[in-house]
Amino acid sequence: MRRFVAKNRLLSFALGFVALQVLLAVAAPLVSPHSPFAQVMAQRMQGPNLLNWLGTDQLGRDVFARILYGYRTSLLTCVTAVGLALVVGGTLGMLAAYYRGWFDRILMRFMDVLFAFPILLLAIGVIAVLGPNMWSAAIAIAIVYTPIFARLLRGPALVICESEYVMGAKAIGASDARIIFAHLLPNLASVVLVQTSLLLSAAILVEASLSFLGLGAQPPVPSLGLMLSEGRNFLMLSPWPAIFAGFAILFLSFGFNLLGDALRDTLDPRLRGQDQ
């Protein structure tokens, strides 16, 4: 394993970069000396200093603490959403590829319709129905990503279903469940890993957009998108909260994108140099 990582410098960098951010989010109370909610009115809108490493916001709350807890909100929302979409969409795509026929046709037609909506617009529609909060945002992102996973996994799954070893398994009388779990799923693992990472990167931007628009996590929950929209109102007085929140979103999304890219190169050398 160590040799494997050493051989892939881009992958190890991406892994480290993502792991660092996830760790900061998980260990937020240990890392940050301040609470993300504590308001110190005497120290409002400070620039970066020794006491508040990244400064304070318009209510005198520590920006560094809010960013760490914002990472938590962002990761919790996006991991839940992408996980849900992967389980539901991935399962549907795999079953469609395995059973083909009318199930495949009806399902993929339905997915086509969901796919027809611009991503953010569908998410906004879902939130309009559920009411704006963090979990609505998670469900909205999950619904938007379900058809994407279904399509992404159906293609490779179709190829595997046509392969000789699946034919062989069928010939010796393996059950559907056995073929799906023992043959289909393990062979899809690399596609799943790469796409989950890339889609997480995009989901982080969608989540940030939604909370920026006031449709995601609601105040006082620390959220990166919300920090940006609040910071925007005080931009001329103190640009720091908006600037740092933006960098946080950028780093998080960038990390997962790089990770997905590097994973693709490592797991499937045939795809090296291709972008889609």
Binding site: L120, A208, L228, L235
Partner: protein, 317 residues
């Protein structure tokens, strides 16, 4: 063959639009609890009569399929119902807000797609180890920079560097063409950057692919100039995946426009739909989503047709 292709694509288009209309129609019916009571919301003088009156006006007391056909029949005639609060026709509200969004999206598509071709070609030709990694990282950064953040930072920088220039708001092109374009510069940059990053990467890999083909070697052998080879022979073939992506990216831009409008205080469809959500004006939310999604679906339909024109093999399949 051509007509058969056209008809099958038209059938797909009709089906997808029908599906989209069903989902948008169901939205208001899926609101947990009583949508009508929620819509009336903070109004203190809610009486059962008022609720019943609004329910009747929205047609919510009819059977589902009757409701759908009434609604879609109206939509097809340009009647999206009336806005609950202002009492104005929803179509009129949309008409008043559609131009800024349309202009912003079209300009961004033009800038993003237009610039990505020369940049992608350059990247494909200047392929070197160090540059390749730098460009790759740069392109991923372009993809992952939140456009709204870019917008906010650019507003801040502009205010610091050129304090007198206003970057916010919107003036119709017909009123003040210069002021209109001036205010569009920053939003278009913010909105088109992710598309530019994405498409440049795509053009680069499509060009690398095309440049390694046999016909390029033939062109070189007969002494064609590098310029002619790149822009005529390779680019034409590289354009096929490019055009599909432009169609797909238009959807991202329509979504992104909602956010960028909010940043730059542009009174477009994005602001309209957000305001409508805030005041639980469901007919307006429905209509805006339906209009924007249909536009996206039709753009992709046209892209499909264009695809068949550029590459006749597509229509033959």
């Amino acid at each position: 063959m051509r007509t058969r292709f056209l008809f099958s694509r038209l059938a797909d288009l009709a089906f997808v639009l029908f599906g989209v209309s069903i989902i948008v129609f169901l939205m208001i019916r899926l609101v947990p609890g009583d949508a009508v009571a929620i819509m009336l919301g903070a109004n203190t003088d809610i009486t059962p009569e008022r609720v019943a009156e609004l329910r009747g006006r929205l047609g919510l007391d009819l059977p589902f399929y009757v409701q759908y056909f009434n609604w879609i029949g109206g939509v097809l005639q340009g009647d999206f119902g009336t806005s609950i609060w202002t009492g104005r026709p929803v179509a009129q509200e949309i008409g008043a807000h559609i131009w800024p969004t349309l202009q912003l999206t079209l300009l961004s598509v033009a800038v993003g797609a237009g610039l990505s071709i020369p940049i992608g070609c350059f990247m494909a030709q200047a392929r070197g180890r160090g540059i390749e990694v730098a460009v790759r990282v740069g392109a991923i950064a372009g993809l992952t920079i939140p456009s709204f953040w870019l917008g906010i930072v650019s507003i801040f920088l502009l205010a610091k560097l050129l304090p007198g220039v206003s970057a916010l708001g919107y003036v119709p092109f017909t009123q003040d063409p210069l002021g209109n374009l001036q205010r569009m510069i920053l939003p278009v940059i913010a909105l088109s950057l992710p598309m530019l990053a994405n498409l440049s990467r795509l053009v680069r890999s499509a060009m690398l692919d095309a440049l390694s083909q046999d016909y390029i070697r033939t062109a070189k052998a007969k002494g064609a100039s590098q310029r002619l080879i790149v822009y005529k022979h390779a680019l034409r073939n590289a354009l096929i995946p490019f055009i599909t992506s432009v169609g797909v990216m238009t959807g991202y831009l329509l979504g992104g426009a909602i956010v960028v409008e909010q940043v730059f205080a542009i009174p477009g469809l994005g602001r309209l739909v957000l305001g409508a959500i805030a005041e639980r004006n469901y007919p307006l939310v429905q209509a805006t989503i339906l209009v924007m999604t249909s536009a996206f679906v039709i753009v992709n339909f046209l892209v499909d047709l264009l695809y068949a024109v550029i590459d006749p093999r597509v229509a033959q399949k």
